[in-house]
């Protein structure tokens, strides 16, 4: 009897107590929710090529982003969001633009990312940006194809100068350096690998040479996976140029320089970033890398106080793609502070209106980042760097230079 009743009674009590407890909880809900929202992580999408031919650069970029994320979280996260930590959602863009776009779609839908950083290669970024633009999610990138900011998109933010500007600066900087060494450039050779990077850079160079009245005596594209550069170098030998401007990745860049030395072709080499500004370049060429010039969208020696942390953590100097992505994340964090909400629209507004200073922006030229209506960072200025020993030193323009350039026939 008792047995049959007590559980029922206990059940009723329990139920009532449960109802009271739930009711109390229900009343407290808004307060509880706000309390748990304190420090709810902000999801930031990171889409980079982590496999395929660009994997190395994707990994470098990811390292730069992770470094900054750690720093932000270590000092207490986003203050305006009650110390919300940055939560990186990292995904492989692979080397197929369609996949990059699908991955973007996934991060936006499943992970509620407030913004996306990516995707290193211009073709991947272009495909990805079609998704982010239509979903109104800000995309921050250091890809520099002219097309990226040329479509009237509102959600794209490019942290460095575009390809045509880079190409022009490559020539302008060289002309300036040559002049300070007493030589007037009149005949140049251009060679470039045939993907979007090389082609767009070469166009910038070509147009700039036309404006300055400098003759381009050799203008050759070559397939990226070229296995034999001797035809290229044979042409160079017969072209009678004063300086050569190769836009290459590492494999082709090394072949070019080694072949030039084999044939004792001595002229200044001005690389187009890419493979010319990574540690492997110096490691492979040893003393032959000395005094090779290159254009670069950014360089670590502008802010060693910041970039040394990268070298300490990862064992190599902070390559420019890692640096630029690091700056992107810092700018995003600052935008979150201004927007006071983990809301893509508010973040977009903050990014397009504010002027960003301090933090990692110190590593950018002028220490300032400001985006215009097309999404370009108006303060981004390309710089010329030169190999001195194991380091890349900024040598032009004068306001950024850390050392005097050396104009030598290699």
């Amino acid at each position: 009897m008792t047995k049959a009743v007590t559980p029922h009674v206990r059940g009723v009590f329990a139920t009532r107590r449960r109802v009271l407890a739930l009711g109390a909880a229900g009343l407290a809900m808004p307060f509880v929710r706000r309390a748990s929202a304190k420090g709810a992580p902000v999801n930031v999408g990171v889409i980079l090529p982590l496999s395929g031919a660009n994997a190395q650069f994707g990994v470098n970029s990811r390292n730069g982003i992770e470094l900054v994320a750690e720093q932000i979280n270590a000092r207490g996260g986003i203050k305006a969001l009650e110390g919300a930590p940055i939560n990186l959602v990292i995904a492989d863009a692979t080397s197929t633009p369609t996949t990059a776009a699908t991955v973007g779609q996934r991060l936006i839908t499943q992970n509620n990312v407030v913004a996306i950083l990516g995707a290193y290669a211009s073709s991947l970024t272009l495909a990805l940006s079609e998704v982010t633009e239509r979903r109104d999610i800000p995309l921050m990138t250091m890809s520099f194809s002219d097309q990226i900011t040329g479509r009237g998109f509102k959600n794209i933010f490019q942290i460095i100068a575009k390809a045509s500007v880079l190409g022009a600066a490559q020539l302008d900087g060289t002309v300036a350096i040559a002049k300070s060494a007493g030589q007037t450039l009149e005949r140049i050779a251009i060679m470039y690998e045939d993907t979007a990077y090389g082609v767009s850079q070469a166009k910038g160079l070509r147009d700039a040479a036309g404006k300055l009245g400098i003759k381009v005596v050799m203008d050759e594209a070559y397939p990226l996976g070229i296995t034999d550069v001797t035809p290229l170098i044979n042409k160079l030998r017969g072209a009678n140029a004063q300086a050569v401007f190769p836009a290459s990745y590492l494999n082709d860049g090394l072949q070019i320089i080694r072949s030039m030395r084999q044939q004792s072709i001595a002229m200044p080499i001005i690389g187009g970033a890419g493979g010319y500004v990574i540690p492997d370049f110096r490691k492979a060429l040893g003393e032959y890398a000395e005094n090779v010039l290159s254009i670069a969208p950014g360089n670590y020696d502008l802010a060693p106080q910041l970039t040394d942390a990268f070298r300490k953590k990862y064992g190599y100097f902070m390559v420019h793609e890692a640096l630029e992505h690091a700056v992107c994340l810092d700018v995003l964090a600052q935008a979150l502070e201004i927007a006071k909400a983990a809301d893509p629209a508010a973040v977009r507004k903050a990014m397009s209106e504010a002027e960003f200073k301090g933090g990692w922006c110190d590593a950018m030229p002028g220490g300032v980042v400001k985006f215009d209506q097309t999404g370009l960072n108006t303060h981004a200025v390309p710089m010329m760097v030169q190999w001195r020993g194991e380091d890349l030193v900024t040598v032009w323009p004068d306001q950024l230079a850390k050392a005097k350039p050396v104009w030598s026939a290699a």
Binding site: D194, T227, L232, K235, S259, R261, Q262, D280
Partner: protein
Amino acid sequence: MAFIQAVLDGLMIGGVYAVISIGLTLVFGVMGIVNFAQAEFLMLGMFVAYFAWAYLGLDPLIGSILSFIVIFCIGLVQRTLIQRVMKAPPVAQIFLTIGLLIVIENLALLAFGSSFRSVSTSYQTSSLRIGPLFVSVPYLAAFCMAVLSGFALWLFTDRSWYGQAMRATAQNPLAARLMGIDVERMQQIAFGLGVGLTAFGGAIVLPYFTVNPTVGSQFVVLMFTAVVLGGLGNVVGAVIGGLAVGVIQSLSALLFPIQLQNLVLFLVFIGVLALRPTGLVGSSR
């Protein structure tokens, strides 16, 4: 003069293409498989030679022999997989070797990382001068190694019992079996030899090339064109095909933009297939 220089350069690099292609054609000749993953073994051979240089201080030209041995053994071990592939219909074969390509490339990516690695040797930036002509020393060294390996292969297939048994298996597996030859064993050796030679070819170009898990794809076109030119399965044809590819590539730069050099190769490829499907030299199948 530019013409002679181009032919010279083309022949030297063509020697390397020849060694790489012999491997592919051997595999087809004895086993009937077009191994789409062949270039991945080239990549593995390059890595072996790279690590031999980095940790043992071996010059890649010596390291190439090590590459051959290591990859040959790996090839031998593939016996079961290869037998399964051979029994499959041609359609499935294509995709099995493609699957193998994906697996090897990504295993390498996981194991070795994505960075490009290069060796530094003393002769990398030197060249000989013969009159007005330049002869790049790394190219010449690779060419000599290629010739040596070709000679060694010829000795093997012509003089040794194993070599002759392999040729018999390639010509007529049933007859070979009737003569007491262990056909599966021959196919196993042929596969090992084939991938080993391609790996060797990769190692000898290491002085002027960088290695990275995706490097195989840069040689695929060249390898297949050389093999088709010479006739699938024909070793001598692969040598001629390899040299031809090198010279075509080099000469095309004199007439067309260098950017289109692969285009020229592809058109030659399609043209040969159209006019003489069994190759310029003739095929064993």
